[in-house]
Structures are given as structure tokens and as C-alpha cells.
């Protein structure tokens, strides 16, 4: 059992102990390391100002894979075996990096407060992919907000260095010495306890699934953290650190992703960016929704299991999973069981996870070629926003008649729901405007929307009523060759 986390910061070895283990990465950088280049604005992963690169081991390959993450909602206890690269590690005033130079000459900074975050996000983009086009740059920078420039000069800077050589970070920081050390510790559990304000906090970091389940069994009250993109926000905003934390970041068995011809099996700790890559060609409709899941920084750490367990009725992934009749696999020291996702949630943030259980994976049947599937996310802003309304509509036709329909709505009830009465109404009816309009009327009788920050109940009713008509017209438009 180790009593500290090993994290490298800009190539420097840090043994993180005691209270430091419970700090956010941004606080650790700014307060413990006095590295103030990383800026903090929102403390909730919604602006990207605090973006740093997180280098993680890629299976057994001899390299670290770097991707941008929001350091304000990453906590030190999640970072065992990683290399954090900050703005301080890039170029200097006398020798700026390609990205920095492009930002200077393109007038990419005005007030400058978002700038280090953008520089890191762009550097990360260049690490991930070569030859980025305008669309890649836009989606790649969608996790960073700027209030001054109107983004145009930033996009110009990004375009200017979009053909930069990959692997610049690896060149600056040879991976092998770090990896060698990380590997030695990979099989060891880590536990750290700390007292703060008279409260004792413990974090446990199991190195494999078995020890995770044993800990989970022994501490059923512990908070489970993987990506931490929701819990991290709660910790920051309420000044309330959970007293017991089990961190799953080092459990390899939970990270898996298999896409077969008709089913996708995703481990609970798989990140959304991995899902994003896997879906791009096989399930493009889901891919376009995943691309609007938070920003890239969130998708690089946020996990599939986390989205399920956060149990938000507005969760981006759930309508698809509901409409596809996905099945969740739950596991504990006593064994595993499978629960259809449509039966998993029982009320607002209530779900069928028993003490001692972890979400292991989710199995998602994929749409057949002849099925019509559309996913909808309506939000105030297109990207980096939480939905006001979501829907998934899957229809299979037999000639003109509707043979099968699966309809899920989100953000209109305490949980995501399947609109069973609407589905029943549609069966056997001709697929036309009148049917879908009438179905909209049935659908609004199945929802119980609230008025909140993201829209009034009436707005959500209008959307519920209209979305089936929209689905119909989109299907018609898609059927007509352009």
C-alpha cells in the first residue's frame, strides 16, 4: 500500500501526500507549485481557461498520450501515473512555441486571461491529430471560452499551426523514465487520509477490479470517482469534499470498448472521447451527440459509467441508450447482474445500484441499416451546454406502415423516459405528417416537465410535440436525393 500519488509536472517528479492529494490540479499548480500561468475562471469545467495537458500511459506502448483537460475539476488523487504539462513548459518569451507564435501574430489574445487555456488546447489538438481542418479546429476548441476576441483570430492562429509536427511534447519530455516508474507502482493500492476542519477524508485508489470491489463492499458509503467531471464541480462549489472516496482511475478492467456489427460494449470507465472515436463511422448519429457532450476537455476524462451514475434526466447519452434498449452490467464481489437501462432509473437521481456494486459496462444494440434513428439535443447554446430537451426516435417501417418505434425523451421528467404510449400509438399507422402530429399530442401526455433555468415547462412541451414532426420531415428530406 502506497501513501502517496506519483505525478510528474512538466517533467518534475512530485510525490503528492496528505492534504495536497485532495487539492484540485489547478490549486496544486497555482498554490503549491506557484505556477500561476494556469488561470481559473469557473471552477466547473465550463470555460477551459485552466486547460493543461494530461499525459497518460497508452497500454504498454512506450509513450504517453497527451490530451487537454480542465485542471479545475481534476483532483490530485485522480492523477497517479500521469504527466501534467502546463503553459510554463511550452515556449518562453524569447522562444515561443509554434502555437504561441501563431497566437501572437494573429492577435489571438486580448485580455489574455483565456489565452493559456487556448494555447494548451491547441497544443493538445496538434498532439492528437495531424492536418486539422476548420471543423476539427472549431470542435477541438469548443471547450474554451473567450469573451474578447470573437474567436476569429484564435481560429486563424489554430489554422496557422494546424500542420505542426506531432509529438512535440514527447520530444520535450522523454516518456520512458516516467513510464518505468509508473509501471513499478501499477499493481499497488494507494490510500491517503487527511484531516481538514476536524473532518477526516480518505481516498482509496485500487489498482484492479477485484480490490475495487472489495473496497466498495467494505465502504458502501464511499463516493465513487472516475472522471470526476460532475463530482468535481460539486466539491468546488459546495466546499464539501466527500469523506470517503474510491477512485477508479487505475482499474484497467473497467476500460474497454468493443464495437461489433450489431452491438457496442463499453466499459464503465471508458471516456467519451474514446466512444467518440469508435462511433464516428459506425454510429454517426450517436457520434454527433457525443461531439456535443461537454467540451473536448470533459470528454477526455468524463466516463460512460459516470454519465449513467450521475443520473441526470438531461444526460446527453441516455436517450440513445434508452431507445436502443441498452443493458447495464453491474458487478460486485458476489457476482454480476444485468439490468435493462429502461428499468435502471426509478426517480430523480435514483437508480438500481445496490451497496457493494459498481457499474461494469453497458451493452448497446446498434441500429440496423434499415432503421431510422435520429437523436436530438436542444440547448441554449449549441456546444458546451446542458440540454434543455433531448430525444431519441427510432422507427422501423414496413412499407408505409410503422412496424416498430422506440422513443425516448430527456429533461422532461425526473428521469429519461421511454414514451410507451406514443410508441404504441404509432404501431401499424402510416408514417406521414398526420400520424406524427397526432403522436406529438400523445407524447406530451407522457411527460411531466418543469420550468427551470434551461427552459419553461411550456417550451419543453412544444419541443416534445414538434420533435416527432421534425423527425418525419428529416426522414423525408433524407430520402430525397440531393
Amino acid at each position: 500500500m502506497l501513501d502517496h500519488f506519483l505525478v510528474y509536472v512538466n517533467g518534475i517528479r512530485h510525490e503528492v501526500r496528505g492534504g495536497d492529494a485532495f487539492l484540485s490540479l489547478s490549486d496544486y499548480l497555482r498554490r503549491v507549485c506557484s505556477m500561476v500561468g494556469t488561470k481559473v475562471v469557473c471552477s466547473e469545467g465550463d470555460c477551459g481557461a485552466c486547460t493543461v495537458l494530461l499525459g497518460r500511459a497508452d497500454d504498454d506502448s512506450p509513450r504517453l498520450v497527451y490530451c487537454p483537460v480542465d485542471s479545475c475539476i481534476q483532483f490530485m488523487f485522480q492523477l497517479e501515473g500521469t504527466h501534467v504539462v502546463t503553459i510554463e513548459a511550452l515556449g518562453s518569451s524569447s522562444a515561443p512555441s509554434d502555437v504561441q507564435q501563431a497566437m501572437i501574430v494573429c492577435h489571438g489574445s486580448q485580455c489574455g486571461f483565456c489565452t493559456p487555456g487556448f494555447v494548451m488546447a491547441m497544443t493538445g489538438l496538434n498532439e492528437e491529430r495531424e492536418a486539422l481542418d476548420e471543423a476539427d479546429l472549431r470542435s477541438g476548441l469548443a471547450g474554451n471560452l473567450c469573451r474578447c476576441t470573437g474567436y476569429v483570430p484564435i481560429l486563424a492562429a489554430a489554422a496557422q499551426c494546424s500542420h505542426s509536427q506531432r509529438g512535440q511534447i514527447a520530444e520535450l519530455f522523454p516518456a520512458e523514465p516516467m513510464l518505468a516508474e509508473f509501471r513499478q507502482r501499477r499493481k499497488q493500492a494507494i490510500e491517503i487520509a487527511n484531516e481538514r476542519d476536524g473532518r477526516r477524508h480518505v481516498v482509496m485508489s485500487p489498482p484492479d477490479l477485484h480490490s475495487a470491489l472489495v473496497m466498495r463492499h467494505a465502504h458502501p458509503e464511499a463516493t465513487i470517482i472516475a472522471g470526476g467531471t460532475d463530482i468535481g464541480v460539486r466539491i468546488n462549489k459546495s466546499n464539501l469534499l466527500p469523506q470517503k472516496i474510491i477512485d477508479l482511475n487505475r482499474v484497467p478492467e473497467l476500460e474497454s470498448l468493443v464495437v461489433d456489427r450489431d452491438v457496442m460494449r463499453v466499459g464503465a470507465r471508458t471516456t467519451w472521447s474514446a466512444v467518440e472515436r469508435a462511433c464516428e463511422t459506425r454510429v454517426p448519429e450517436f457520434h454527433q451527440i457525443v461531439m456535443r457532450f461537454g467540451g473536448p476537455q470533459i470528454r477526455h476524462v468524463g466516463t460512460v459509467g459516470g454519465n449513467l451514475a450521475n443520473a441526470s434526466p438531461a444526460a446527453d447519452s441516455l436517450p440513445f441508450l434508452f431507445a436502443m434498449d441498452a443493458v447495464i452490467e453491474l458487478t460486485s464481489v458476489g457476482g454480476s447482474r444485468r439490468v435493462p437501462i429502461t428499468e435502471f432509473y426509478s426517480g430523480y437521481k435514483q437508480f438500481d445500484l445496490r451497496p457493494g456494486e459498481l457499474i461494469a459496462c453497458i451493452e448497446v444494440p446498434l441500429p440496423a441499416d434499415h432503421e431510422l434513428l435520429r437523436l436530438y439535443k436542444i440547448s441554449r447554446r449549441r456546444d458546451l451546454d446542458i440540454a434543455s430537451f433531448t430525444a431519441a426516435v427510432r422507427v422501423q417501417l414496413d412499407g408505409e406502415a410503422i412496424q416498430e418505434a422506440a422513443i425516448a425523451f430527456g429533461a422532461v421528467a425526473p428521469t429519461v423516459i421511454r414514451a410507451r404510449r406514443t410508441e404504441a400509438f404509432l404501431l401499424g399507422r402510416p408514417f406521414n405528417e398526420d400520424t406524427m402530429r397526432a403522436a406529438g399530442d400523445v407524447a406530451i401526455s407522457e411527460i411531466s416537465p418543469l420550468s427551470d433555468i434551461r427552459g419553461t415547462a411550456d417550451y419543453r412541451r412544444q419541443l416534445t410535440r414538434n420533435i416527432l414532426l421534425k423527425f418525419y420531415h428529416e426522414s423525408q428530406a433524407a430520402a430525397v436525393p440531393a
Binding site: D27, S34, T38, V41, C42, S43, E44, D46, C47, A49, I87, E88, S93, P96, V99, Q100, M103, I104, V105, H107, S109, Q110, C111, G112, T115, P116, V119, S139, A142, N144, L145, R147, C148, T149, G150, Y151, V152, P153, V233, K237, N239, R380, R381, R382, D383, L384, I386, S388, D452, I453, T456, Y459, L463, R465, N466, I467, L469, K470, H473, A477
Partner: protein
Amino acid sequence: MPSLGKPVPHDSAVGHVTGQAPYIDDLPTLAGELCVGFVGSPVAAGRMTRVDTGAALAVPGVVGCFKASDVPGKNSFGLVVVDEPFLADRDVLYVGQPVVVVAATSPAALATARQKVRIECQESEPILDLTESIRRQKFLGPRRRIARGDVAANLNTAPHRLDGVFTTGGQEHFYLESQAAIAYPGEQGQMVVHSSTQNPTEIQAVVAEMLGIGQHEVVCICKRMGGAFGGKESQAAIPAMMAALVAHKTGRPARVVYSKDDDMRVTGKRHAYRCEWEAGFDDAGRIQAVRIAFYSNGGASTDLSLAIMERTLLHADNCYFLPYVELTGQVCFTNLPSNTAFRGFGGPQAMATIENILESIAEHLKIDAFDVRQRNLYGGANSSSSTPKNLHSEDQERIVTPYGQRVEQNHLPEIFATLAAQSQYRRRRVEVAHFNVSSPLFVRGLAMTGVKFGISFTTKFLNQGNALVNVFTDGTIQVSTGATEMGQGVNVKIRQLVADEFGVDLHRVVVMPTSTEKNNNTSPTAASAGTDLNGAAALRACRTIKRRLRRFAALRLADSQAGLAPSSGHIEFRNDQVFDRRRPSEQIPFSQLCDEARRERIDLGARGFYATPGVDFNRETGQGTPFFYFTQGAAVAEVQIDRFTGELTVPRVDLLIDIGRSINPGVDRGQIVGGFIQGLGWVTTEALVYDARGNLLTHSPTTYKIPAVTDVPEVFHVATFDSRNRVPTVYRSKAVGEPPLMLAISVWAAAKNALSYVAPGTPNDLQLPATGEEILRCLTALGAKRCPLQSCSPAAPLDSHALNS
């Protein structure tokens, strides 16, 4: 090499991209420094019955909790009317209003202590809504009025009349660096305050008054801000006072940095408006008479609301001649944080109102709104057949504003015509109409709106600036002015002006942090006038030094044997050299001349002072010449709306703006694009949501949505209008900070235009912001949900929008 007119990078660009440019919270912590925060009112209105800090004081690391009774000097302040408490004493006026200032040795102790302060109140019913405040006549300040002619009679005789109520929403500044200050206690009660402020002089004054000391005992310094947009013109005061109070009470350095949530909850925003309007117009859409009553949501204290309302009245005409007009403005009290300056300063609300009126007139008459606007432009219709005959002769030119100032150097007709051609407005109008009859999924809209923004503070005395220029013996130069750098690039512009004035390379000039120690009695960096005022003052200081150096150089370069008599008038400063024009081969390096000048006991430092000439406005009569000049422009936006969800996208924007001769085209382009996108947020996605008790629910970026990179129009053409600026500004440049924001009203107008295609002939009452929800409300009201295609079967004729184009 001259640098003026070149896109020199921002003064701090290198610091920004390397993370080396420090903001307030990046300054190193001094030994003993305290973390400062506050606890605010739990209710929007009421009386405090008990404030208990006992449990907070017991938290280890907590050094003090301070209340209004601990304030040694004045506990209230205000730029115009002194009606804003620093710390609430007895009555509370809005949720979060600071009551207790907490100081602790660590952020963790501060966070814990803040949760342990108990404030109990006897809650009363808050006023949160403008209509409620109007009904109860709860107003701040007097009603303002600007009027011309017999409006009632001319409304009655107009061939057409329309009226309506138009509301515009508030807007959060969302500067990325939240409010922040550090106070360092000095000797004998003196205080040095580093503040993220647009207005160091104001911080100096309020801290001095709060501590009960003289202004000469307080120094306020601002190196840079991580954004401001008006939000740090007056509202940096409270955090600065908090830090100063703690530093004064404890004798230790004190740092306050608001969290983004606290900042959004307790600081003011752009004023929401309610505008009641009536317009009379002829068959061609030419306005004959218009009456608009503006009501702004001022929040709990006056702040800058009166000046903002004044600017609203001065911009209700925007680019359009209003023959008979009555404009009234009233600031309303509500139990919300005091609303404040925000880029545009009342102008956006006014312009959106008149653009809504013109869009409504066009819909009513089934004329393309572009034609309606063009016919109403200042100086735009020389055939004044419809201009009433009883107006003065100069009004026949349609060139005089409702407040009596002539629109000189009026480029509006040319800008409108040029932009219409460049953006292919007419062709695209036809395309939009065709698209709308054939698309079952989307409906598009197109609109051109204009901007004529008056430059100068409407409060005359603020139109001044001073600068200090110090030249050193190695030929390097430090410039200090009252201008504060918030990202807008004022420092690099002043640096360019000074370098070129001395004919030296840019690297020889550094712009120093803004400090009240060097520049006293300065105006806030606001009203887009930062460079106009401070750049002009800096140039004057440079010229004073040059005059002395010239005299010296003339003697130094004179050659009696060669017949070259000393002549100051022939001395040139160029390429880091100084020479006599009559014998350019003989040059002295600028650095050498400076070194020699010092040895000859010549003063190499000077102050410069500038006051804008000719501006004056009488707010009682509503008449005068408030503006030195106008920045003018126009934009064409095309939008696409989802017929079923109300989702809006902006595929294309073209804009054309006259910014005179640009000191720095890179910086100015940044202001134009950045301002536009900020305005895009105001008119589309940025909506403030409060609960029934006055709590702001949208207090972080999770719920308050400023534009993201994917909201930038795919096609975005930005062009500047080529004109010879005859106004004697620095380098003949024009102010650029605020005007572009209002070009984004074109996006809103295009959304309204799109709705006019949904059920032709049925008016829509789209309000601002046009969120997806607001657009869907209008679509639903238009009956679009029932029969989205009824009005657009391909067999139907093109509607009159297209036919009139």
C-alpha cells in the same frame, strides 16, 4: 520604421501566450497576507435582525470579520449619486449584497468561515420586475426627455401607425478575470491598492473616503485586467474597499478574488429595458413621428444608470432621421445588484428598439426592411417630398439629431449602399425567399442594420486625459497615462503613437502600469475613448519634450562655418536618429542626444493634458453637441431557424465599419470581431434567469451561455470603410471599442425577418434575446407548429419580400 498603421501585436501578447503576464491573483503572496471574502444578504429585500460571526471567528485561521460598523470613514459611495452602501448596515437591497467581510490566513479557512456566518433578516416583498417597479413608481433619478416638434399631431396625421412594447434582456459581462484587488498597508495609514479596475481614480477616491483619509494617502495601481467591458468601471469599488478595509484593520496585505459565481450573483449587468413605442409613417415606410418611452432596470442603486439612460435617448435615432420625436427615459429601482456600464452603455437597447420599429414597419407595409432603412437614413433621402414642410430648412436635409447636433461626416448612405452591394443583399433576398418556400425544416431571414455611435462621454468633464512621459539617457521611454489595459490594446496604440512621435523603434517605449501616483484625476477607461483621450495627452507630453530637445539639437547640429544657423524648425526625429533637415547626413543617435541633453540640464520628462474640444450637452433641455464625432457602420446577417425547435444558426455575416485611419489594424479588427460576437451573445443565447425571490440562477458558464467558438458565423466578412476622417483625433483614428457590438443587432433583426416568412401577414413580437425558446414561442404563436408547410407549398407565389427586392 514607423509603427503607426501596422498590426503590431498586443503589448502583452508574449506574456499572455506564455502565461507570464500576471493578473491580480497571480501576484506573489506576501508573508502574512490574508485571503478576503464576504458574506452577503440571503434575501433580496428586508431588514437584518441578527448578524452572527461568532462561529466564523472560531474557525482556525480566521483573523477577522468586519461589518458596516467597522468602516472608519464613509460607508456609502456612488459615481453620480452617493446612494450605494459598501456594506449593508440595516436594510438589504439585493441577494448577496455584502454584509460581512471575512479575512483568513488560507483559502480553506476563508471558505469554511464564510459558511459559518449567520445573517438573519426580516424579509419583505422584493421588486424584481420592471413592470412592478413602474406600477409602484419606484424610480431612480428624474425622467429624462429629448423631443422635437408636435409628435401627437404628426402621429395622428401619419398614413400608417404601429405601436408595441419591446423588451431587451440584461447581459452579464463575463470578463474572465473576476473582480479582484489586493491592498498593501503603508506607513501612517497610507494604502496601496492593486485593483482590476477601469477606473483607478475612482478606486483611490472611494478607498480614501471609506478609510477616512485623504486621496493623497491612497495609490491605486492597475497593470491589466482580464476583461472588463464596463463591468469594472464602477463595480471594482466594493472588492477594492474590502481589501483596503482588511488591510487597514489588520495591518496585513489583503487579497480578495471573487469566485465566478459570486461575481455573477452580486455585480451589476447590462440593464434590461422595457420600451413602449408608437410610430407613424408613410406608404414608403418613412417615419413621420415616433414616441418611445424607455424604462431601464437600474437595480438597487443609481450607479451609472442615469448616464446610461442618457446615452439611450441619444441613440434612439441610431442612423435614422426622426422628424417628430419624443424620447423619454426613466431608470427603475429593483431589488437586484445595481446594473452598470456595459460596452454600448445604453446604446444597444436604444438601437435595437428603433431597428425593431423599422423591421415592424417593413413587415406591415410588405416592403424589404432594407429599403425602409435606407429611406430613413440621415441624409439618405434628398427628395424630401414626405418631409413635413414646416420643419426648419436644415431639417429638410434630414441631418439633425433629435438633440440638435448635426450628423457631420455622414457616411451612412454610402455605407449602406456599399455593404448592400458587397454582401449581394438583393440577390440573397431572393434566394432566402425561394429557400423559405421550399424548405420544410428551416426558415431563413436576412437583415441589414446600422450603427451610428456617438463618441465622447456625455458627461462633459470626463472628456479629459493626462499622460506622463519620461525619457531616459539611453533613449528609452516610459509612458504612463490614465488609460487602463483590459485587452482592448490601448497600451500598444499609445506605444506606437509615442515611438513614432520620437521617431524611435517600438522596443524603446514601454507603457507603465496605470497608477494614480503618476496620473491623477483621470477618467475611467470607457466610452471607447481610451486612445482618443490618453493617446492625445501622451502626444502632447512627447511634443513638450521634443520642443526642448529640438532647441538643444538645433544648437548641437548648427554649423556656423557651413552657414547652418541653429533652427529648431528643421530638426527631425527619425529612425532613432536626430538631424537637421538641411543637412541630413549629420545625425545624432536619439540616445546620445538624450544623454547629452541631461548633461545640459534639459528636462526629459513631461506631462501632457488633453480635453476634447467643442462637446457640450444640456441634459435638462435635451439639446447640445454631446459628441465629438460618430463611429458609423452596418452589418448584414443571415440566419437560419429550425421550424420545429426554434434553434438559430448564423451562417453568414458581412459588416462594414468606418473607424477612420487605424492606428493598429490588428487590434482594431479584434475589437470589431470581438464586439460583434459579444453582441451576438446579447441578442441570442445570453439570458439571465432569476427566481421569484431575486436569486440569480444563471450564475456560472454552465447556465449562462456566452457565444462559443462554434457560434461564430461560418462566413464572416469584416471590412472597414475607407474615408478621410476630418475630425482632429489622434492619427485621425476613430473609436472602435463599443460600436461593433451593436452591429450584431442585425442578427436579431434577421431572426425577426425569418419569422415574417412563417405566416406572411401575421406580425410577430420577437423580443430580445432571441433564444431558441423565444423563437419557438413566436413560431408556435404564428401557428407554425400546426401547419409548417401550409404557407410554403412550392406552388404558392413568392411573397412580397421577394417581389419588392
